[in-house]
Amino acid sequence: MRTKNIAYWLFLAPVLIALTLVIIVPLLVGVYYSFTDWNGIQTNHFIGFDNYKALFQDEKFLDSLWFTTKFSIVSVILINLIGLGLALLVTAKLKTNHLLRTVFFMPNLIGGLILGFIWQFVFTKVFASFGELIGMDSLQGWLSTPGTGFWGLAILMSWQMAGYIMVIYIAYIEGVSNELLEAAEMDGANAFQKIRYVLFPLVAPAFTVSMFLTLSNSFKLYDQNLSLTAGGPYNSTQMVAMEIFNTAFTKYDMGYAQAKAVIFFIIVAVIALIQVYINKKREVEM
């Protein structure tokens, strides 16, 4: 087969056509929309950078961006700590280790929307009941304040994703040869030293992968946000993805929403590239 061959293009055609119509064309058209005052129905006027100027003064958008950033930082830290902890636990020679892996991973098979609804029940009803039982008033009305809404989302996301990240760490930990660990033991290393000096450097690539996944997943979060808090109370837990959706499909301010979407794309791409670059560099040094 060669590039000139018709077979080559026939093999590529279905996915190339789909990619073009689903991603490439909408991306380009979207950039155009972002410079217009299009409202979804009426023909649009080209208004230059007005949308972009406006969104940097749009407090709702900036708030959602800040909330998303805070949430992503907390999530990345929590998920990686818990995920790595679980991975270390289930790679120790426990009798229950297969069962535990199955259990920790389970939430990832269920959609974010449904998980959000389940936790909405836990946070509102179960927490209230439990708070009453132990006499802690602070457990009442979870999700009804900005602070508890934030932690509600962080807990939901950590519970869900830690098992996924665990699986990645396990793959790398199991790739570390036992001989290396035994050699360290013979040299008198204790458990902590073995983890710190032998295991950690060897699982560094896992950190690159899982940080990339947690960061981009947290930043793009929508389903869980919608079903757990729906952005409330008073839009205080509204993340960027939801903000864009609402601007577009409840206010029908399409051109403006698309400008936000373009900025969102640039932020996600820049974060992803910087993060992979830094981590790759770190790996080499280690």
């Binding site: 060669r2 190339l16 789909a18 229950t96 259990v103 959609g111 793959a171 979407a261």
Partner: protein
């Protein structure tokens, strides 16, 4: 290496495992209670088990039809993603040229694009050509699923020797026959991974179907669940029964295929 710590670690593991399934446990025990009993105490097991909630939720969710809708979209989309991505990756891995490099890079780069960035024009364009229906949805899944799938297939294909293709060519097989009868069967392990990753994503996807499928009676499980939940917001007994109904098939599938699912996910993530 851990011997002396093993017992406390085992206990810690079990405790964490219990915490992990606690939300599911609470969902199930409360779905078996009456509305009133949930209100009085959510922590206790039900005093007498009632399946009335399930009967009503099953009806309201139009469960068999909704499940069928989800299954149809899932099976067709995943099958097309597997076949088309496999073919494309085969072409890209066998023809090493600048065009192949550019196309491959294009697919990898597409993974970085958040859905929200293309969402508005995508829905507008597909709306104009009247493709906001199941066929349109499946087409979109192929477009969005292709990147990661091609990436995974490409990696696996690079380790299948070209001499196999050449031998088959001498025997008179054409490109399609070579791919379908010789190469594709050898890709089975990675096909399982590609299938699992796309299945988890498509089965659980909410946003895209919510924008694309607006005809009544065509809703997938997450979509129907959203409306159902909205209708019964304060009626936890029904909402919880509905959520349990939605989850049970997934849990059953998981217990049959847990090894390949976990393996598939870890391979997909580290490659």
């Amino acid at each position: 290496m851990w011997k002396s710590y093993l017992i406390p670690l085992e206990l810690l593991g079990i405790a964490l495992g219990i915490i992990w399934i606690l939300p599911f446990y609470l969902m199930i025990i409360n779905s078996l209670k009456t509305k009133r009993e949930i209100f009085e105490d959510t922590l206790k097991p039900p005093s007498s088990v009632t399946f009335d909630n399930y009967v009503q939720a099953f009806k309201e969710l139009d469960f068999i039809r909704t499940f069928g809708n989800s299954l149809l979209i899932l099976v067709v989309s995943v099958a097309l993603i597997i076949i088309f991505s496999g073919m494309a990756a085969y072409a890209l891995s066998r023809v090493k040229s600048r065009i192949s490099t550019v196309i491959f890079f294009l697919f990898v780069a597409a993974m970085l694009i958040p859905f929200q960035s293309v969402m508005i024009p995508l829905i507008t364009i597909f709306g104009k050509v009247e493709m906001l229906n199941r066929i349109g949805l499946i087409f979109m899944y192929v477009g969005f699923g292709a990147s990661l799938s091609i990436f995974l297939y490409h990696g696996a294909l690079n380790s299948i020797p070209k001499s196999l293709d050449e031998a088959a060519t001498i025997d008179g097989a054409n490109k399609f026959q070579i791919f379908w009868y010789i190469i594709f069967p050898m890709l089975k392990p990675i096909t399982v991974t590609v299938g699992i990753l796309n299945t988890i994503w498509i089965w659980n996807d909410y946003l895209l179907p919510s924008l694309v499928i607006n005809q009544k009676g065509m809703e997938t499980i997450p979509l129907k669940m959203f409306f159902f939940f909205g209708e019964y917001t304060k009626q936890w007994h029904l909402a919880l029964a509905g959520l349990t109904l939605a989850i049970v098939p997934v849990i059953i599938a998981y217990f049959f295929a847990q090894k390949s699912i976990i393996k598939g996910v870890s391979e997909g993530a580290i490659k």
